[in-house]
């Protein structure tokens, strides 16, 4: 069993829809939770960064973390064709002093149709 599980999709939605992306994990030591967006042939770029449980909102994006269920979510409101990409969840436990050692999910491919 992988430490971080993510449905690979593809997930196809019409423009303007609310999108829900999810990850489950097994390592209870994870404390930092991130969502990255990766366009084709590009490197991942950070969208949301959350510490421990709770919600965080940034524009059209909302990240939720439920540590008791080992489940994290990313919601995208008013989805746009430009949101079409692969979304990767990533997480880490107690960090070494140099930075995060991230464990990534496999990514969910999202397609937003005009």
């Amino acid at each position: 069993q992988k430490e971080v599980e993510q449905d690979p999709g593809p997930l196809s939605v019409p423009e303007g829809a609310i999108v829900s992306l999810n990850c489950t994990y097994s390592n209870s030591a994870f404390q930092y939770f991130m969502w990255y967006r990766q366009y084709s042939r590009k490197g991942p770029e950070l969208l949301m960064y959350t510490y421990s449980s709770g919600n965080k909102e940034d524009g059209r994006f909302t990240a939720q973390v439920d540590k008791s269920s080992k489940y994290i979510s990313l919601f995208i409101r008013d989805s746009q064709p430009s949101d079409s990409a692969t979304y990767l969840c990533a997480m880490s436990g107690m960090n070494n002093n140099a930075g995060n050692m991230l464990t990534f999910g496999g990514g969910t491919r999202l397609m937003v149709k005009p």
């Binding site: 042939r41 490197g43 770029e45 960064y49 070494n96 002093n97 140099a98 930075g99 995060n100």
Partner: protein, 114 residues
Amino acid sequence: EAGVAQSPRYKIIEKRQSVAFWCNPISGHATLYWYQQILGQGPKLLIQFQNNGVVDDSQLPKDRFSAERLKGVDSTLKIQPAKLEDSAVYLCASSRGRAADTQYFGPGTRLTVL
């Protein structure tokens, strides 16, 4: 601010050949990471440097992979000899070097081993 630079962008080699990838992190970033991303999967951390020292290389296949960051800035990742299963995108990321800092990714080098 310039992002993380990587070269080459694409490389095709035959199995048993050697190959090297180069990364130039964001100026002033002390921590540098190399990840391997196999098609359809999330990135997997290979090695983490802080300045010119190795913080973690537990997932680096040391029988064929090596990496260095001699002056604490640029880094090279080498594979010798390459195997078919090494076909992947090799991503470099950097961060300021403190716990929980954001990692910024380069565009990656796409390696195909024939």
